[in-house]
Assembly symmetry: C2
Amino acid sequence: MKALVYTANEEMTYRDEPEPQAAPGDALIAIESVGICGSDMHAYLGHDERRVPPLILGHEAVGTVLEGAVPGQRVVLNPLITCGVCDDCLGGRQNLCAERDLIGMYRAGAFAEKIVIPERNLIPVPDGMPSAHAALTEPGATGLHAIVLAESALARPISETRALVLGAGSVGLLTALLLRDKGVGEIAIAETNPLRRDLVREHCQLEIFDPREQAPAAQAYDCVFDAVGGAVTRDTSITAVRSGGVIVHIGLMDNQGSMDVRAMTLREITFIGTYTYTPVDLRATLAKLHSGALGDLAWIEQRPLSAGADAFAELLQGQCAAPKVVLATGS
Amino acid sequence: MKALVYTANEEMTYRDEPEPQAAPGDALIAIESVGICGSDMHAYLGHDERRVPPLILGHEAVGTVLEGAVPGQRVVLNPLITCGVCDDCLGGRQNLCAERDLIGMYRAGAFAEKIVIPERNLIPVPDGMPSAHAALTEPGATGLHAIVLAESALARPISETRALVLGAGSVGLLTALLLRDKGVGEIAIAETNPLRRDLVREHCQLEIFDPREQAPAAQAYDCVFDAVGGAVTRDTSITAVRSGGVIVHIGLMDNQGSMDVRAMTLREITFIGTYTYTPVDLRATLAKLHSGALGDLAWIEQRPLSAGADAFAELLQGQCAAPKVVLATGS
């Protein structure tokens, strides 16, 4: 089969790879669409020691079952493979499973024509749903999971709060769209890429600004979603959040800098690290995307998998306006 | 009246001070007992820019109403003076009030024979309760507030969790005693002062260890209460807490060091800054102390207010075993 392989730092190679072989309990999937995630970019830059080349990256995938329990069924893949039997798995917190693995990390990912994955990791796609839309399930569920954690920590229902989202990549933008769907009236997004700001304004009718030109209002937001996860955005989060408010830390851009823990303590701020999603988050997000509640999703940019190397290069240079580039096989 | 005045760095002076004058809405209180808090020590060392000498420190106070609505009533003082009309005050989160003040910070504290304080800051003491016990209300409520915040963030009831408490000063020890009263079966306390460890073992039958000799088990605790609040204890908290667990940051020892935010994110850790308590926390804690649920409290050390300067000096040198020194007037 053909696959887009991470072969070296800043090098993606579209080439022939061996056909994947399904083990008992696995399904064989023909990939239709797969999104490029920030963590794929991170790996591409050689910044993720967990992703060692040569490796097929990609985990935001939609396809059709070739071999398995439901041949012909279109499915979103839950890329997080967990043991299914520990307290965390059985308690509905599968994302915490100590045995967890992710496709495109220690095992082959979805930038390929085919993949094998456990049957229990398949989520049926509603009839007629475009595969590029369904490919947003994974980043959307990351946002939904962050929101669910915030809701458990907020003193008031999230619909009564003011929210700030840092970063309008797909996770940040989908977080903002999910917040709007939950009735949050005041949502501001900070994004430094001007191309992306224009695209979000045009397609999503959301308030978006450049935080380098205009700092977010101080102590003004009940909840801040940091979809970047850098020293600068952590500082911004602490400054912008209200006393008694909640910061949800989603991104993993860097591990630098210190945090003003004294201010966080005196102002009783809750800082929540959030990692991925649960199966329930994925299903709920897929349903939201299909319902139209998150808009027409016209901000997705689609490209052929065979041209994936160029997409990575352009993303690296900030030339992509789209919050999400989805690669499609067979085109 | 006589008062113990913070007059300069590492200098407390027992001397005559002007009689306090009650404004409308205030009560005049004759102080019986007042505890020495870590924040008083912090001020004494010149490390708290909010507390400027000359200043009467002290905010863990019990006394009797001399002038006010209920003359003769014994009362615990709620030292946190708030506006009473903002959303936070009316929403039961008085500790977040933007107008908040604390006795012994910007206004005169309770290391004195008398104090004035708003009537609404008085909490009646049950008949016959020793004033030294009632003086633990404030540090105990700080612990209870931290526990209540942890409970809102934990996935399971706190009685099913394993808890680690860092520091066995009064807040740490009272947090551990409150956790035991809530049915938490596994509670470990880390404390570096050997005198204090011996006293806690003798009086409280709690597991207590020296974290410099024996590091806490890694990723073993559902909740960690950091009653120290230093760079070292923050690192320990992140190492010791389970994935999906909760760190409650109570202490304000320093604002140094960085935190491993990457680990906090990948392991979905919630970090909660907690500041003081609400009136409800204070009343609930006073009732717990009076009921005997927190033990016989024989670990309190009582000294005369007139000898307070020596107590501060001994506390500074680590010569005090007692988690709480309470100063009594009139002796």
